[in-house]
């Protein structure tokens, strides 16, 4: 990757961000502790359906946050990339549908991630020269084309029914689809992805990516290969989405065109926007709120109206915050700490600088 980078960029706002973020705060440890203790006090339903599902959706939305937050590219194909990984697990691995090739897990998992990353690179190469709404349109088109291919192709994708009976590997006599192992598997993957994104965002590559987001023309004039940076960003995001896709196929135990249709694609966008697109924690917060709403909204509001509740929450978050729930929290915190010290203005500048 270093070959991509011609020079060491010095980005003022980036440097501020690094300094500000590297300090671990008490609440970091509290969050980590809660995530670790949570599965031992909650019921199986909460561990898997709320906990693991949020983590998995969070990982997929994290890949979108990485592209949109640091690269300024809103790709709607991230769920599709995850779906490609899921389909690869099904096609090359073991399923009860009977058409799988039956590769062992240690071969099929890297293979699925590699193919999905390659696919993401291809999506990036296709869409990287477009900006704003056109990126959204072209990635949506790619996502829908893949959806229809999966739905109508029977020889490879098994059409409408897709594949079922897909299980994660049994390691050391542990069934990793049991609630506790599966939760910790998801948590481990989510943590790795989270810190990976944090790390990349502070690396020279990440900083130049953010600089390209802010002013692509100037970066080009400085001698950076803007296109290549963006494509590499798509590949890295693809890698993250692929990991989420592998977990999601184990979570659902099945994959079908419905898993990569328009509504899951939009769900990922909603999760990322609702949580906040500027920090890697945003997608996870968004995912938790989304999963809780999706699961329990029907208990609060009767019958066919419960989607209205989800829509209203989304609308309110977008209306009152430019950066989702995390942005809302940031604003509250700044306001609360305002009377205390002059730190506030610096903090506010830092937050502004990231935008």
């Amino acid at each position: 990757m270093s070959a991509v980078l011609p020079a060491q960029p010095a980005n003022a706002s980036g440097a501020v961000a690094v300094g500000r973020r590297s300090a671990a705060r008490p609440y970091h440890f509290i969050v980590a502790l809660l995530l670790l203790v949570f599965p031992f006090v909650a019921s199986d339903f909460w561990i898997v359906q709320i906990g693991a599902q949020s983590l998995i959706l969070g990982v997929i939305a994290l890949s979108l946050m990485f592209l949109a937050g640091y690269g300024g590219m809103v790709s709607l194909a991230q769920m599709t990339v995850a779906g490609v990984a899921a389909y690869m697990i099904a096609i090359f691995g073991v399923s009860t549908t009977g058409s799988g090739l039956g590769w062992p897990w240690w071969a099929v998992i890297p293979w699925a991630i590699a193919i999905a990353t390659l696919y993401a690179t291809f999506v990036g190469a296709l869409s990287v020269r477009t900006e704003g709404i056109y990126t959204i349109m072209i990635t949506l088109a790619i996502g829908m084309a893949t959806f229809y291919l999966a739905q109508q192709n029977y020889t490879v994708f098994n059409g409408f029914d897709g594949f079922k009976g897909l299980e994660p590997p049994h390691l050391f006599d542990v069934d990793s689809r049991e609630p506790l192992p599966f939760y910790f598997l998801s948590l481990a993957v989510a943590a790795v992805c989270y810190f990976f994104v944090l790390y990349v965002s502070r690396s020279t590559f990440g900083l130049s990516l953010q600089a390209i987001r802010d002013n692509a023309r100037r970066m080009r004039a400085l001698g950076y290969n803007v296109t290549l940076h963006r494509i590499v960003a798509y590949s890295l995001a693809g890698l993250i989405a692929a990991l989420g896709g592998v977990l999601s196929v184990w979570y659902n135990g099945r994959v079908s065109p419905g898993s990569i249709g328009i509504s899951p694609i939009i769900n990922i966008l909603i999760i990322a926007v609702m949580g906040g697109m500027l920090r890697p924690a945003g997608p996870f917060v968004g995912a938790i709120v989304f999963v809780l709403l999706q699961t329990f909204a029907i208990d609060f509001i009767d019958r066919e109206r419960f989607n209205t509740l989800i829509g209203t929450v989304f609308f309110l978050v977008v209306l009152f915050s430019t950066d989702g729930l995390l942005g809302l929290w940031e604003r509250v915190r700044v306001r609360l700490t305002a009377p205390r010290a002059g730190v506030t203005s610096g903090q506010r500048d830092g937050a502004e600088g990231q935008r």
């Binding site: 969050v31 949570f38 019921s43 409408f160 938790i288 208990d299 019958r303 995390l326």
Partner: protein, 415 residues
Amino acid sequence: MKHKFRRALLAAALGIGVAAAAGAGAQEIKIGALATLEGPFAVPGQDSMRGVELALSEVNYTIAGKKVNLIKGSSNANPDVAVNAARKLVEQDKVDILIGPLSGSEGLAVKDYAKTQPNTTFLNGSSAAQDTTLRDPAPNFYRFSTDGAQWMAGLGEYAYKTKGYKKVAVVAEDYSFPYTQVMGFMVPYCAAGGKVPEKFWVPLGTKDYSSVIAKLPQDVDAIYVALGGADAVNFLTQYQQGGGNKPLIGGSITTDQTVLAAKGRIRDALIGTPAAGPIADSWDNPKWKAFVAAYKKKFPDGLPSPSLFAHAYYVETKAAIAALEQVKGDLSGNQAKLRKALSSLKLDTPTGMVSLDENRNAIADMFLTEVAVGQGGTLYNKVVKVIPQVNQSMNMDKAKFLALGPVSRTNPECK
């Protein structure tokens, strides 16, 4: 922010855990109802819930002295979503009995899920894919609503012998339920001597049928159409506009009220179309008429007449109520008594007697109908014949029926 959420979440989890523990000994039966309140089948999904509510309100939400707590779940016809919703109802809300889902492929997925939850009893909703019960069934999954092949009883022979259609083309949606319907039509039709030279499978929700219409063979006598709702209206309209004039044969949800109420030239083409299904809205039978009247009274904003979805969910709920009454609400021993009662239940429904076979799939009466013009020019399904007690192997020898193989795009064939 995040730990706040976790904290709230933990508190909620603990709270719910305590509530569940407290509720376990109480005099309450929890019934979950799962239907598609979103997506392409949202209207049928709403009607399904009406069926459940109607059945429960008849007993005033009380069974064997215990209060019934009805908890609803929603999916969007996607199997992943259906299983997620089922998980929520079973594992979180701890329902004793789950009724649902609505759509064919959802049924197959929920059946697989049922195997992992041996302490809960699953009653099908209206999903009608064959292998939900025929092959590899779940021991705690019951279907009182019959499958899509059973619904076609009598139609194949009627089309060949009475209507004289020697050759038909098939246009159907591309998933498990229409596969099952096509098999139910083709097996007797082909046995009688009919030929099906071509089948066209279209994705659910297709808007443009011009390529299918252009490829329809000219030398067929009729077209068998197994499409639902908007798909049926779109296909029929475009077929008429394209100058098509072949007579039609309908699947169970092709000639329902949503299609018959459509305006324009497709009306004329629909008259005389034979179809078959588990209900017939115009059936002149006191029990059926009482059911329709009760439905209309309880749901003035509902459909003009209960759909087959409302009927299926109604029958399933009635079965749950009858079995629970029989065992006096006793759910002990992993619901062993309840399951025994369900297996041997003889249920008197608005459409006749229903009982279960050894795979826990219903044996019930079916209706052969034909579209006719009623008073004031409205179209309705006139009952041609009631076919009594159709079982899952369509009253063939079961071994022979199983030897036909699982339904698919290419099974059965008779070109």
